[in-house]
């Protein structure tokens, strides 16, 4: 058993300041994950040079990989830091903020773009009201299984971080939002505006921007079949294109 664990953390004080690396050496404690080590640094914020520094800032909430907040690059690979177990990681452990989003501070980034994409693709059921209108449609178990898997997306950003097409210079919607269009286009009432969602996917930043690298599906911590979703939406978009041609 090692006595200590070394962390090399890429830090950035403000949105516009430059980044720098800082090393922390903390006592090794069995069954640690990255978050519990960041907490240890908080409780004793001293770097490897023995200087007292501001504790590292990161974002987290549920700590059980269902909220998506604590996503970061761990040894260069995007993952939730709560489920990154120290014993399984190569040392020293390198932590960096995700690279596809503006850094707020240290390991915290601003993922507003992903939530804006959910607005663009109208990822919701347009309800008549919240009063008692009886039960929803009956649905098969296989429908539920497909929909549930897609609905587990926590907007964490792993898929777009891994995507070679998604960058700050373009407005690609990304795999998460495209997969949500599949979810809502298969819902018995949300599909009433399926065509509007397809229109969005046909615009700039839509499905045509996907380069088919298939990194997204590898990176997804929830094993959501993102490439299947993209293929399915590609089919729906082509279908609509054909319909448009025949209508014209």
């Amino acid at each position: 058993m090692p006595d200590t664990v070394t962390f090399k953390i890429k830090r950035q004080d403000t949105e516009t300041s430059g980044s720098y690396w800082e090393t922390f050496i903390i006592p090794y404690i069995p069954n640690s994950n990255v978050i519990s080590c960041l907490m240890d640094i908080q409780a004793n914020p001293v770097n490897a040079k023995g200087e007292e520094v501001a504790p590292v800032v990161w974002e987290s909430n549920c700590l059980e990989e269902v909220c998506g907040a604590c996503t970061m690059l761990i040894n260069g690979k995007v993952h939730q830091s709560c489920s990154a177990l120290v014993d399984k990681l190569e040392k020293p452990i390198r932590l960096e903020p995700m690279s596809k989003f503006p850094v707020v501070r240290d390991l915290t980034v601003d993922r507003s773009r992903m939530f804006d994409a959910l607005k663009k693709v109208q990822a919701w059921v347009a309800a008549d009201g919240y009063h008692d209108l009886g039960p929803g449609d009956r649905l098969s178990q296989s429908h539920q299984e497909t929909a549930y898997k897609l609905s587990e997306c926590m907007t964490c950003g792993c898929c777009v971080e891994a995507c070679p097409q998604y960058s700050s210079d373009n407005n690609f919607l990304g795999a998460a939002a495209i997969s949500q269009t599949r979810l809502f286009n298969m819902h018995p009432t949300a599909k009433n505006i399926a065509d509007e969602r397809l229109d969005t996917l046909m615009q700039e930043g839509g499905i045509a921007d996907c380069g088919n690298a298939q990194n997204c599906v590898e990176a997804c911590p929830k094993s959501i079949p993102l490439t299947e979703s993209i293929a399915e939406m590609g089919r729906q978009v082509s279908g609509k294109l054909w319909r448009n041609i025949f209508k014209a």
Binding site: N44, S60, L63, E64, A69, K119, V125, Y130, L133, R138
Partner: protein, 644 residues
């Protein structure tokens, strides 16, 4: 009158349910949240949501659900609220289904239901084992739709510091701290709803998320609002140990047939699968033949404590027991419990489909919370138009969800929390709007000077925190405080220890003043916020501990062995109803009861007269002053609980 709006603090199930309902009714809503609302703690709820839809044809009904809920809470819950909630539950489940929640289905395509603790019916609708996440996402989507339509505005990355009160003590807005820029300013609001969840972080590691500090409701308490039933903290029987948090292992694992056991031989070093059936002690099944592994959580946690501490039969001699699902097929488990089994596997490296899980009890939920009001109808339901519903003792300041106190009594039944969160958010909305419609003036027209005083107070407070240059690290101090709470204010409570903990808390409060603000930068600095939250957690720990010290009885999750009334093994609760009836009729026929039953019933009756009351904590002279209030038990007669 100028345009009015409501401020909702917190974007979990309760906050978003209220937001979407009020937006539907045409009201502008400002949602303030620590994080993007989609990341709220509601995502951690796993097993499901209760509603007596009776899909399985078992004869279940909202009234039976109501009875189970009240009994589960050891009769401390306000009955009209529980009744109304249980009667609304089937509609709420249907609504969430319509809004796209991916609930599991029966072969015919109906919603599927499973069993949960404290009931004998299949009453829990579920979406795999991430039901809270799925419900939250559906509400998040509805609220996003309103955001696009301009009715809802979100302020994510902001924290609530306190209510702005006018000269009459009415809440007219909130002081909000921008967690990025550090700016502190007031937001005008004609009503403010605290939907800020529970206080698990008072215990450091719990099943709660990192935002669950209880700081918003504590702030309301410090401003004069009453706090109810603080000492009733639910300990969940099954969690996975972790250094940063204790991850929940849902009750649904037992609802789907999971069995709890320990080796019969203390310190048995064999692997669980090597221990033959007859050498396993399925202690819940043996001790509670009727409810078995699905006893309510307070009972389950106490039994695990008993088996591990008193009988010393814990796995590897530790405070752990096995939760065994290995008799099911992998397909069955993945389909119905996938989410939680993945969590277990990811964090422990052991596949729970092949090996029994090792679980232990952890702080999970606060039945207590900020005191709120309601208006009942003659039928014992709730008048949904009443502006009193969910209003705290500060006019215009409301609370909903885990932040409030009155639905779960002394112990919450599993899968009732998702229900109570969505229910309170929806139920209260028409009343909040009625309150607003009858106000003499819109917050928009209230002079800025009313707000500037509050803002200045908080700006000074945060400036003071930033200048703190003592010796204590706030995070280390929090760990110490949490250790104290975990050690002495948990499953088994003793007055001597509670007393010493209160003294310790006073020490923590003194040491808080010697904190060093370890980060004094202006941009996106979480440290001053945490120091402020820690102060509030210290205040809240006093409410919990003092309430526990003064309540000399055993009720629900609040267990003091010294005051256990020792129910005779062969006692039936119906006997007590007969006893009470005779008492009302004027004469107890003592010879009709066996002497030990009679003596027990007398003890029980006397105890209820003294203690079947809501604990109220009011902030006076730097700490909680405790008083007691009546509980509405007019619909179901209180009686001894029994689950075997």
């Amino acid at each position: 009158m100028s345009k009015q709006r409501v401020i909702v603090i917190g974007g979990g199930l309760a906050g978003l349910a209220a937001t979407m309902k009020m937006a539907e009714l045409g009201m502008s809503v400002l949602v303030v949240s620590f994080l993007p609302v989609k990341r709220s703690h509601s995502v951690c709820a796993q097993g499901g949501i209760n509603g007596a839809v009776n899909i399985k044809g078992e004869g279940d009904s909202p009234d039976i659900h109501f009875y189970d809920t009240v009994k589960g809470g050891d009769f401390l819950a306000h009955q009209p609220l529980c009744k109304d909630m249980c009667h609304e539950a089937p509609y709420i489940i249907n609504l969430m289904d319509r809004l796209g929640v991916t609930f599991n289905r029966t072969p015919e395509g109906n919603l599927d239901f499973r069993r949960f603790g404290g009931t004998l019916y299949h009453r829990t609708a579920f979406a795999g084992a991430t039901t809270g996440q799925q419900l939250l996402y559906a509400l998040d989507e509805q609220v996003r739709h309103f955001e696009v339509q301009g009715l809802v505005e979100k302020m994510e990355w902001h924290e609530y510091l306190g209510a702005v009160l006018n000269d009459d003590g009415r809440c007219v807005g909130a002081v909000i701290h921008n967690l990025r820029s550090g700016e502190i300013k007031a937001e005008k609001g004609d009503a403010v709803i605290l939907a800020t969840g529970g206080p698990g972080l008072v215990y450091g590691r719990s099943t709660n998320s990192m935002v669950c500090t209880g700081t918003a409701v504590t702030s309301a308490y410090l401003q004069g609002a009453k706090y109810g039933n603080g000492e009733f903290i639910q300990i969940h029987p099954s969690a996975i140990p972790g250094r940063d948090k204790l991850r929940l292992m849902s009750e649904s694992a037992r609802g789907e047939g999971g069995r709890v056991w320990v080796p019969r031989k203390a310190g048995d070093s064999r692997k669980p699968k090597e221990i033959p059936e007859k050498e396993r002690f399925y202690f819940l099944e043996e001790r509670y033949p009727l409810f078995g592994n699905l006893v309510p959580r307070d009972v389950g946690a106490r039994e695990i404590y008993d088996i591990c501490v008193n009988d010393k039969l814990g796995v590897h001699g530790e405070m752990k027991v096995y939760l065994d699902l290995t008799h099911h097929t992998r397909e069955f488990l993945d389909h119905r419990l996938g989410g939680i089994l993945e969590i277990y596997e990811k964090f422990t490296g052991v596949d729970p489909r092949e090996e029994p899980m090792e679980i232990f009890p952890a702080v999970h939920y606060s039945m207590g919370g900020i005191w709120t009001d309601y208006t009942r109808t003659d039928e014992g339901l709730i008048d949904h138009q009443s502006p009193n519903n969910q209003m705290t003792s500060i006019t215009g300041l409301y609370a909903a969800g885990e932040a409030d106190y009155q639905y779960h009594g002394g112990n919450r039944l599993g899968a009732n929390s998702l229900l109570s969160c969505i229910y309170t958010g929806l139920m209260m909305s028409p009343g909040v709007l009625n309150y607003i419609n009858n106000l003499p003036e819109a917050a928009e027209d209230i002079p800025a000077s009313v707000y500037s005083a509050s803002v200045k107070k908080w700006q000074e407070s945060y400036a003071n925190i930033k200048s703190m240059n003592g010796k204590e690290n706030p995070y280390a101090l929090h760990r110490e405080m949490a250790e104290e709470m975990i050690s002495n204010v948990l499953i088994v409570r003793e007055n001597s220890k509670l007393k010493s903990t209160l003294d310790k808390i006073d020490e923590f409060e003194s040491r808080w003043k010697n904190i060093k603000c370890v980060d004094t930068s202006d941009w996106s600095n979480p440290v001053p916020s945490f120091i402020n939250q820690l102060w509030n957690m210290i205040q809240l720990s006093k409410i919990i501990t003092k309430g526990a010290l003064l309540r000399d009885e055993f009720r629900g999750s609040h267990y003091k062995p010294e005051f256990d009334l020792h129910q005779p093994d062969d006692f039936r609760p119906e006997t007590y109803l007969e006893f009470e009836k005779q008492k009302e009729d004027g004469q107890i026929k003592e010879d009709e009861f066996s002497p030990d039953h009679l003596a027990y019933m007398k003890r029980f009756s006397k105890n209820n007269i003294k203690w079947l009351k809501t604990t109220i904590a009011t902030y006076r002279n730097g700490g909680p002053e405790i008083s007691y209030e009546a509980v509405d038990t007019s619909l179901i007669d209180p009686r001894p609980r029994k689950y075997d």
